[in-house]
């Protein structure tokens, strides 16, 4: 299963709930303001650092770059472009966009 989160972990509880309900081995794609959760400064507080041991974590690179966070992602998070986003959706049998 692919989980998609688009809100800052500091603004809403979407990421927190996603991390509570995502099964080990699932994929998590962070887009829009959710990319802050995968930065070196944010990964511990957002729970992403812990989650990376059981989930495959991706961040949408255009959103990372737009926010000046390029080069600031924590190690282990995989950047993807828009085509990579499409691939992730196609590769997984189902997905959930957390609102």
């Amino acid at each position: 299963m692919l989980h998609i989160v688009n809100k800052s972990h500091a603004q809403t509880s979407s990421l927190q709930s996603c991390l509570r309900l995502a099964k080990a081995g699932s994929a998590l794609l962070l887009i829009e303001d959710a990319v802050y959760a995968a930065t070196q400064a944010g990964a511990a507080g957002s729970g992403i650092a812990d989650a990376m041991t059981r989930l495959k974590v991706y961040a949408l690179q255009p959103d990372v770059e737009a926010r000046g966070m390029a080069g600031k992602l924590v190690d282990g998070v995989t950047p993807v472009d828009y085509a990579g986003f499409v691939d992730l959706v196609a590769e997984h049998p189902n997905n959930q966009s957390w609102l």
Partner: protein
């Protein structure tokens, strides 16, 4: 038409946004097409099911009654996450419909087996 498993994930309180009402509308549409429909209530979504809602004074329709009508549409799979309910000081006795209470892990299993997951 092939039957798909649709899960509606409700995570918003009933009146602050339009999400709760919109979810119910789409649930009823899915039920009309004889799909396998589940509703889950997580986080503030649990508040949608609390008994005794009275929205007269805020001028918004009280849609909570609709949950009681869902079994008339063969929508009988309602699940509440135990952790979300407990965090809000609620028990099953506070809810206006019969639900199945699941742990986070059980909820995660149920979500992973769906064909379509819709967030509200």
């Amino acid at each position: 038409m092939a039957v798909k498993k649709f899960m509606f994930v409700n995570r918003k309180a009933p009146f602050g946004t339009i999400y709760a009402l919109e979810s119910l509308e789409v649930v009823l549409i899915a039920a009309t097409f004889d799909q396998d429909v589940s509703l889950v209530f997580i986080d503030d979504g649990v508040y949608e099911l609390v008994k005794g809602q009275d929205s007269k004074a805020i001028g918004i329709k009280n849609h909570s009654r609709t949950y009681r009508a869902l079994d008339g549409y063969d929508v009988e799979k309602l699940y509440v996450e135990r952790e979300s309910m407990a965090a809000r000081g609620l028990t099953e006795d506070d809810l206006l419909v019969d639900v199945e209470v699941l742990s986070s892990a059980e909820m995660a299993d149920l979500m992973a087996e769906q064909d379509v997951v819709l967030s509200f």
